[in-house]
């Protein structure tokens, strides 16, 4: 063995050791079957497949809209790699379930009054076909925020309402509160996303107008068709009176001040209905005999997927909920519309915690695969998209297979993995993942000392950095509590304005191609239904 080969070999082994020890994954490894011929053949086959990909023009009986809240393209890429690495692959070559869909387009996500959008305005665009302002729930841009009188005359009918009107079954599933902006925009109308229960409504509001009522109440009083068939997520406190002890969290109560117990009303007003709040009750639901299912599994948002096993009452995964929802909705021979949101991808990013965002994205992908497995793609359109992105980046020049959560190990001049971490101008290693802003700023805050931050971190007072960047050499950046570094100190990381992807499969999925306004998604779904 020549000296050159020897040194490369040592470098490779050392790189492996660093990657394995510090990050839990093996870096610098390419799949054994990756040959030049394989790349060529795969590329050619993809084009052949695309030639053959049908552009089904028949109507869809069912439509499922999956929304990964805050799941920008960098999140999809990082989650794809993480999922692959968790399955002992190099990672980059992996595909999330929806990345196998034949049609992809880009969605322009701005709100009518904001370059970088919020979830209320974006979901309104997707559900009504009309872009609107941030903070508004299924009302148009002529509405004045927090003014429910102006909202009343500017309401927009949602696709879910239309589906009910046409006799289809409908469902809403989310890991966020059901009253949160994204799910709310499918069934409610109002000038303020934060009016989730009646205590949020300003005194003197004209409650005879639906747009002056809280979002939880609007779900229970949903006037279209025979009522929503499936509503599952978090947000129990928004539905229960303040005198009602929460069944899961001792010492906690509902937040409604009007005394109404909305789950009880759900049971009283809807036939063959059920209400569940924990895993055991969820498991006991028989979809064959249940026509209307309300599931409220947390007082606020449901757990992150990573934390779900530790939940007090136990709660279903997004995949579990998706499966149960489809089982119930599929009973309707006229078809169904279902919206499924992975709501906490967004929250993980806001907290500057990539681990939780990415593991929730992986669970989102599993839920989509479950749906694909359960429906007939000849009569069911499935669209997967995000409402907006986050300021989340995948940076540096990590070698192939480098831990996506780890520190960058680059390649040397020959293209082989380096023996040590890549370093910045200060001589310090850095992670592949990072945020442009957020709680991961490394100056001291009023809650954590200068240096890398741990989740959860809500610093509302920051100091300037005095020690330069932290030395991450001995820090396990793959730890689920690690907060990736942020350049700009903010108590909460922000959304980003770039386009998000729309992945489609099924009847008329090809109608969303190219770069389109976000409200086009509604029109694709509507045309798929043949309306």
């Amino acid at each position: 063995m020549s000296m050159r080969k020897l040194s490369l070999s040592i470098g490779f082994v050392t790189a492996l050791a660093i990657a394995s020890q510090a990050q839990g994954f093996v870096g610098g490894v390419q799949p054994e079957n990756e040959t030049p011929q394989l790349w060529f053949d795969q590329g050619e086959q993809t084009v052949i497949d695309n030639f053959r990909t049908p552009r089904p023009i028949q109507r869809a009986k069912n439509v499922i809209l999956f929304v990964g809240d805050g799941m920008g393209i960098s999140t999809v890429t990082a989650a794809r790699i993480l999922e692959g690495q968790l399955n002992a692959q190099s990672g980059e070559e992996n595909k999330l379930s929806f990345e196998t869909f034949p049609y992809v387009g880009l969605s322009k996500v701005y709100n009518t009054n904001q370059q970088t959008p919020d979830s209320a305005g974006t979901m309104t665009a997707m559900m009504t076909g009309v872009k609107t302002k941030a903070g508004l729930i299924a009302v148009n841009q002529n509405t004045i925020r927090k003014d429910c009188d102006s909202a009343f005359t500017n309401q927009l009918k949602t696709l879910l309402e239309m589906a009910e009107e046409k006799g289809k079954s409908t469902g809403v599933v989310s890991t966020a509160r059901l009253t949160h902006a994204t799910p709310a925009s499918t069934f409610a109308h109002g000038p303020e996303r934060n009016w989730e229960n009646d205590s949020d409504i300003p005194a003197g509001a004209d409650l005879s107008k639906n747009t002056c009522r809280d979002i939880a109440r609007q779900l229970i009083e949903f006037p279209w068709g025979d009522g929503i068939e499936v509503a599952m997520g978090g947000g129990r406190r928004e539905f229960l009176p303040e005198t009602f002890a929460d069944p899961e969290d001792a010492g906690s109560f509902g937040q409604r001040t009007d005394g109404r117990n909305l789950p009880t009303e759900w049971l009283a007003t809807l036939p063959n209905s059920d209400y569940v709040w924990n895993q055991a009750q969820f498991n006991a639901v028989n979809p064959a005999t249940t026509d209307h299912l309300l599931g409220l599994f947390e007082r606020s948002h449901m757990e992150y997927e990573f934390d779900r096993p530790g939940d007090t009452g136990g709660e279903p995964s997004l995949t579990d909920m998706t499966e149960k929802a489809i089982q119930i909705l599929q009973k309707n021979r006229r078809g169904f519309f279902l919206h499924v949101e992975s709501g906490r991808i967004d929250h993980g990013h806001h907290a500057g915690n990539a681990y939780r965002s990415l593991t929730d994205t992986i669970e989102f992908s599993k839920a989509i695969q479950k749906a694909v497995d359960m429906v007939n793609l000849r009569d069911t359109l499935i669209l997967v998209t995000a409402d907006h992105s986050h300021v989340f980046t995948i940076a540096g020049y990590p070698t192939r297979g480098n831990s996506i959560l780890g520190k960058v190990i680059g390649n040397d001049g020959t293209g082989a993995p380096e023996a040590s971490f890549s370093t910045d101008s200060l001589g310090l290693p850095y992670t592949t993942l990072g945020y442009q802003n957020g709680p991961g700023y490394t100056g001291a805050s009023d809650t954590q000392i200068e240096g890398p931050k741990s989740f959860p971190h809500f610093g509302d007072g920051y100091l300037g950095i005095t020690a330069g960047r932290p030395d991450l050499t001995g820090v396990d950046t793959t730890d689920p509590a690690f907060l990736q570094e942020a350049a700009v100190p903010l108590g909460s990381e922000t959304h980003a304005a770039e386009d998000v992807a729309v992945y489609g499969v099924g009847p008329r999925a090809h109608l969303f191609e190219g770069v389109q306004e976000q409200n086009v998604i509604y029109h694709v779904m509507r045309k798929a239904f043949g309306w």
């Binding site: 919020d118 979830s119 941030a134 903070g135 925020r145 902006a181 996303r193 934060n194 303040e242 969290d249 001792a250 010492g251 906690s252 947390e298 007082r299 606020s300 948002h301 757990e303 992150y304 990573f306 934390d307 530790g310 939940d311 007090t312 906490r344 967004d346 929250h347 990013h349 806001h350 907290a351 915690n353 939780r356 100056g443 001291a444 009023d446 809650t447 954590q448 000392i449 741990s454 989740f455 959860p456 809500f458 610093g459 509302d460 007072g461 920051y462 100091l463 300037g464 730890d479 689920p480 509590a481 100190p489 903010l490 108590g491 909460s492 990381e493 922000t494 959304h495």
Partner: protein, 239 residues
């Protein structure tokens, strides 16, 4: 409208030391079943002396309120505080309080679970790790400190010299001091109340606008949250 004053930022800085003493979110696993903690209100004074070419001193004054299943900090100026609650099912909730603005930020157990470590309920209630008085520090006998009799301890933990005068019956420090290489942090008990005469009471968060920690990022249109998230670099840090 200016949401935060210089004083509030200064108080927040003082809370760094309190956070280090009380609320280290990478706290160790709870080592033993919680014992009874007598209900009381105490006033503490904290002092941080930062060594340098010219030493800088920062002081803060805090109320500590303790009742069954509940421990709370309030700065005496009434700007902010923190509340820990332990419910009957053992779940622990953490709330940050902004009294001047009647705002509460609630951390759910799921947020705290994400730390992968249990919150040290004993430390929260007695302000120091129980291990310090269970053998980690050397017991040097009784001492009278500012008119009160306490147990004196000294020792070192993680390279930091520690002095403690422990008020055994109240399960609180009369004095607790850490001597780091670059700074010293001292906490002194100034006053204690065990009845209704206490100058402050537990905060009733029902009177506050409550928001989840996880929702802050989606509340950019809320003026308070916006200012909270936009805190600038700390050039006001007490020089």
């Amino acid at each position: 409208m200016k949401i935060f004053s210089w004083k509030m930022l200064f108080s927040a800085l003082i809370s760094i030391s309190i956070s280090l003493l009380l609320l280290e979110l990478t706290v160790q696993a709870e080592q033993k079943t919680a014992k009874e903690f007598p209900s009381l209100v105490a006033q503490f004074e904290s002092t941080i002396i930062q060594k340098g070419p010219k030493d800088t001193t920062q002081t803060g004054s805090w109320y500590f309120l303790r009742s069954p299943g509940r421990a709370e900090l309030k700065d005496v100026q009434g700007y902010g505080g923190e509340l820990w609650k332990k419910e009957a099912d053992g779940q622990i909730y953490y709330t940050r309080l902004f009294h001047k603005h009647k705002q509460a930020i609630e951390y759910f157990p799921g947020d705290l679970l994400a730390l992968e470590t249990k919150v040290d309920w004993i430390k929260i209630n007695q302000m120091i790790e129980d291990e310090l008085i269970q053998g980690k520090l050397k017991h040097l006998g009784q001492v009278t400190h500012e008119g009160r009799q306490g147990e004196r301890y000294e020792g070192e933990m993680d390279g930091v010299k520690i002095e403690l005068i422990w008020l055994k019956d109240k399960r609180l420090p009369l004095k607790y001091a850490q001597y780091h290489w670059d700074k010293s942090i001292t906490l002194k008990l100034k006053q204690i109340w065990t009845g209704d005469e206490a100058p402050v009471q537990h905060t009733d968060v029902k009177d506050y606008s409550r928001n989840d920690f996880s929702d802050i990022g989606d509340m950019e249109a809320d003026p308070f949250m916006k200012h909270l998230a936009q805190q600038s670099l700390g050039h006001h840090h007490g020089h």
